[in-house]
């Protein structure tokens, strides 16, 4: 009896570790970042339009960084959502078994390509291509980053959406066909609505992936910390800022603290996305298993 109890405690300890790490992250971010706000107004920090952390006097306005992140993320979603969901539907509903067995692993491979490789590809192939195509001063723009990020987020969205779509019971499909619906009507009216919450989860998680993405934006987005006006200008995202500048800061300096403060903002954003996604997928599970 006591042995069983001991075993249970043992496992509980490990289960608590992830909370412990999460708490640790929060603690570290706040410990290092919060003291910035003793010297910089939080409003100025969030909505300040200038980011000159190393100038004297330094400016710690991260609005350009936030907007940069959001712009790139939004662009990425525009690319990834239709393609991702379209692919998911295609793979699970239309593709013949042979073709599906090829395409599905390919999409999963796409998800496995490291982000730095995307960044690299963006830098050496895609950016020059865009530069030439639109005749821009530089190929490293928000647009470039969006496309690359979109392709990166695509498999995330596609695979979660595909799971959701293929977990729609076959019986729904059969029911629809037996009522005289065409395949397309079945997809549009039954399958997609049934999988909607799963698809929403996919989109939000894709969004989380895009906004938290570091290397690609760091390498491809260009990196100028100014408020973007068009898609075709370089931007700098929050993640990229942290990655690029952390190496050059003095520990404990205001610059150092401000990078942690950015991390706090970033963390909060992704936390929100995750909680929303979690909530929706919880509901989705209930819906699919509800009733019988």
């Amino acid at each position: 009896m006591t042995k069983e109890k001991f075993i249970k405690r043992f496992f509980l300890f490990f289960a608590l570790l992830s909370i412990f790490f999460l708490a640790g992250i929060v603690f570290v971010l706040f410990k290092e970042g919060i003291s910035l706000f003793t010297r910089v107004n939080i409003i100025d920090f969030l909505f300040g339009k200038l980011w000159y952390p190393t100038h004297t006097p330094a400016e710690f306005g991260i609005l350009p960084l936030i907007l940069g992140s959001l712009l790139v993320t939004a662009g990425a979603l525009v690319v990834a959502v239709p393609l991702g969901i379209g692919s998911a539907i295609y793979v699970s509903e239309i593709a013949k078994p042979g073709i599906r067995d090829v395409i599905k692993p390919l999409l999963e491979i796409l998800a496995g390509v490291p982000s730095v490789v995307y960044g690299f590809f963006g830098m050496v192939v895609f950016a020059p291509f865009i530069q030439n195509l639109f005749n821009l001063p530089t190929g490293l723009t928000a647009f470039t980053a969006s496309v690359i990020l979109g392709i990166m987020a695509l498999p995330t969205i596609a695979s979660i959406a595909e799971d959701a779509i293929s977990s729609v019971p076959v019986s729904f499909k059969e029911a629809s066909f037996s009522l005289g619906a065409t395949k397309w009507e079945t997809i549009v009216r039954v399958i997609v609505p049934s999988a909607m919450s799963g698809i929403s989860t996919a989109i939000i998680l894709g969004m989380g992936r895009a906004i938290g993405e570091t290397m690609t934006v760091l390498m491809v987005a260009g990196g100028s910390a100014i408020i973007p006006h068009t898609f075709f200008q370089p931007v700098r995202a929050m993640t990229a800022t942290i990655a690029a500048e952390m190496g050059e800061t003095v520990v404990g300096s205001m610059h150092y603290q401000s990078l942690f403060a950015i991390a706090i903002v970033l963390f909060m954003l992704t936390l929100t996305f995750n909680i929303i996604a979690d909530f929706i997928s919880q509901k989705f599970k209930k819906k699919m298993t509800g009733g019988l």
Partner: protein
């Protein structure tokens, strides 16, 4: 009254790949009667049923010879419009499978895909009444169909099929996921439905076939062993194999 067969199969043969699943099945399904198909597991009951509205088309390896005549027209003819056929031959499945939509939308589904716009609520009500479900759901047509009980869900599926005004209703073990009380309700429903529809039901449950059907067909390894009045089948089957199956001496 002259016996009139709504659906007739002639020398129906079906293969899944190399698996010869139906062998020269000749059956006439009479109008306004309940015809039951019984037989041991895997004998091809479901497959037979799904031939009648071409649901087997969805399986790639299917190969069919022989004829299925619906009102005298060959179902497997190239000119047959499958989508329309399926509308006229409704189907109810083993496990109740309402869409995760409201009760109302479930029944309206078939109407909407046909592009019907007018008098939908009326038609939905009529279908629900025919399925003896109206009284139980009339005050909550907007709740999710999944929150109904199993038996109610199955009647909803029947209502959904009825809304399309089919002529024939195919049922593939419609009660096997239900408890006896819900099963009894569905069985009672069959007696009223057959006044207006032609029904073909596949069932594992011999007793159910005995209770609800007018004609019974016994399939064995894809072969039609006996097809006769349900009375005859259950009191005096002609074939030894039917007798053995009916009396539980089989296998």
């Amino acid at each position: 009254m002259v016996k009139r067969d709504k659906v007739v199969t002639k020398y129906l043969n079906l293969w899944f790949g190399d698996n010869h699943v139906l062998k020269d099945v000749d059956i006439g399904i009479e109008e306004n009667k309940v015809t039951a198909v019984i037989g041991p597991s895997g004998c091809g009951k479901s497959t037979f049923l799904r031939c009648l509205n071409r649901m087997n088309d969805l399986i790639d390896t299917t190969r069919i010879t022989g004829k299925v005549l619906f009102d005298g027209k060959d179902v497997y003819n190239n000119r047959m419009d499958v989508v329309d056929l399926r509308r006229r031959v409704g189907m109810v499945f083993q496990k109740p499978n309402p869409f995760p939509k409201s009760v109302f939308e479930n029944v309206a589904y078939g109407l909407r895909i046909q592009g019907i716009r007018n008098r939908i609520p009326e038609k939905v009500e009529k279908a629900l009444r025919s399925a003896v479900l109206w009284d139980e759901v009339k005050d909550r047509l907007n709740i999710s169909a999944l929150s109904l009980s199993g038996g109610q869900q199955q009647r909803l599926c029947i209502a959904r099929a009825l809304a399309c005004e089919p002529e024939v209703i195919l049922m593939d073990e419609p009660c096997s996921a239900l408890d006896p009380t819900a099963t009894a309700k569905i069985e009672e429903l069959l007696f009223t439905l057959k006044e207006r529809y032609t029904i073909c039901i596949v069932t594992h449950n011999m007793q159910q076939a005995a209770r609800v059907s007018d004609y019974a067909a016994f399939l064995l390894l894809g072969e039609l062993v006996e097809f006769n009045d349900t009375n005859k089948i259950f009191t005096n089957p002609k074939d030894k194999r039917t007798e053995d199956y009916i009396t539980g001496r089989f296998g």
